[in-house]
Amino acid sequence: MSDVYVVGIDMIKFMKAGSGPAVELLGAQAALMALDDCGLKIQDMEALYCGNLGQAGAMVGQRVLQQIGQTGIPVVNCANACATGATAFREGWMAIKAGVYDTVLAVGVEKMGGGLLGGGGGGGGIPKEGLLGSMTMPAVFAEAGQEHARKYGTTFEQFAKVSVKNHHHSTLNPKAMYQIETPLETVMGAEMIAYPNTKLMCSVNVDGSAAAVLMSEKKVKALGLMKRAVRVKASVLTSDPWQERDLVMPDVNTCTRLAAKKAYEMAGVSAQDINLVELHDCFATAEILHYENLGLCGDGEAGHMIDSGATALGGKVPVNVSGGLLSKGHPLGATGIANVYEVATHLRGEAGKRQVANARLGMTHVIGLGSACAIHILEKVA
């Protein structure tokens, strides 16, 4: 099976939720940018994999092509909660792996509303939110973080430090929604949403899009695109294995651990080899859990890891140097491909002020609650 490469990739600067143009125009922007990044045309694409959650039933991929070139290629529209973009990317990767196509386009795009996600309930009778606890995302991820606090004594301050770090990183990323420093007192003193997550510890709802051109090895060589190409060393998708508290406590840990194990095996590397990680910091609490889930540190060591600065730019394994979902923003269907963009940009040595020095291997991770986990390991080629 051919190795698969990312040859073109880009994202738009994320913007305030609801402020962007129609979803097809938003997606078209990133698609054109990714094509320009590798000097190819829509006519060179053999298939389109489009990730979008909010209009999952509305043929968003086709509508993107109606903006940039109706070439008649197959379009697959993907929805997989917050793993939507990564799932679309992976579908393209699989099609090339299978030898069906040599060149495909993956687009992730989302137009968001504001406010709390989750907790809507549904079903008959009376609303359950605030009656049977909370199913809003801030509360669900607060409880997931509290499980770590229960086991290891992780503190509110340690969770808050994640947000300080990621907001700092975003000051170096012109494509992030925000470029604002948020000192520890500011993060901890911000409006409490669901203890221990304050408002500054919740990801930002934004409009955004990102796109990637994936290509088989022989095509990359034939077109002379290897110089800026990034090799996809592993692509893994998992769902949530049974856990005893599943029904009331969505489990983001087990599916991540399973995906990480498979990804390291597929890539033939270990966690110690990874130079940077873009992981799913939908809430500050979540980032702490994933240090351990991804094997970046041992179980129970994540609190120390954030304290030590190991995951800050300049540290042993910088995490979310883009600013993460906490400050770059989280356009659900675009996030997975935007993460790949960030890692690819570092592997290409094109990340400017936030460049992770000598980055050769990077990892992306997303969680779609419900649950899906997608992990990609990317490798510098040239």
């Binding site: 009376i126 049977l132 509290q146 499980e147 949403i193 203890y195 029904l247 406590m249």
Partner: protein, 136 residues
């Protein structure tokens, strides 16, 4: 006035006797669920599910103190996940404690209590009974 209805289908309100929570249990692997089902999602066994009465005593597993919710929902409140003695994990509001992390301890013993569902009514005006957790 008609009798209150259960807020969720795993809360049982018998004609005589006390309310209780019911958890379908897989007789093949012992997993306990909430709400009706026919197949065990842990072991895949079919038609082995038997309803069991869950305990009213349990321990707080984890919690969050919710300060921001949707309009009309009174905050702050404590969203809690409780492991019941003998099996089964349920989520609900922890009442009878201050909404203060210093006052809430992981593992604290709690009991399930049954009360009116915070005055919430459905479109037909029916009242509901729900369950809550209290320290014991």
């Amino acid at each position: 006035m008609s009798k209150p209805l259960p807020a969720v289908d795993y809360l049982k309100l018998p004609e005589s006797g006390e309310p209780y929570l019911e958890g379908p249990k897989c007789s093949a692997c012992g997993s306990i669920y909430l709400g009706a089902r026919k197949v065990c999602s842990k072991c895949g066994a079919r038609e082995k599910i038997e309803p069991v009465r869950l305990a009213n005593e349990g321990h707080l597993y984890v919690y969050s103190i919710v300060h921001r919710s949707f309009p009309g929902i009174q905050v702050p409140y404590v969203s809690a996940i409780v492991d019941l003695e003998g099996g089964g994990t349920v989520k609900g509001n922890l009442i009878g404690v201050d909404a203060d992390p210093a006052k809430i301890k992981f593992g604290m013993p709690v009991r399930v209590v049954y009360k009116d569902a915070l005055g919430r009514k459905d479109r037909e005006g029916n009242s509901y009974t729900s369950y809550f957790f209290e320290p014991r």
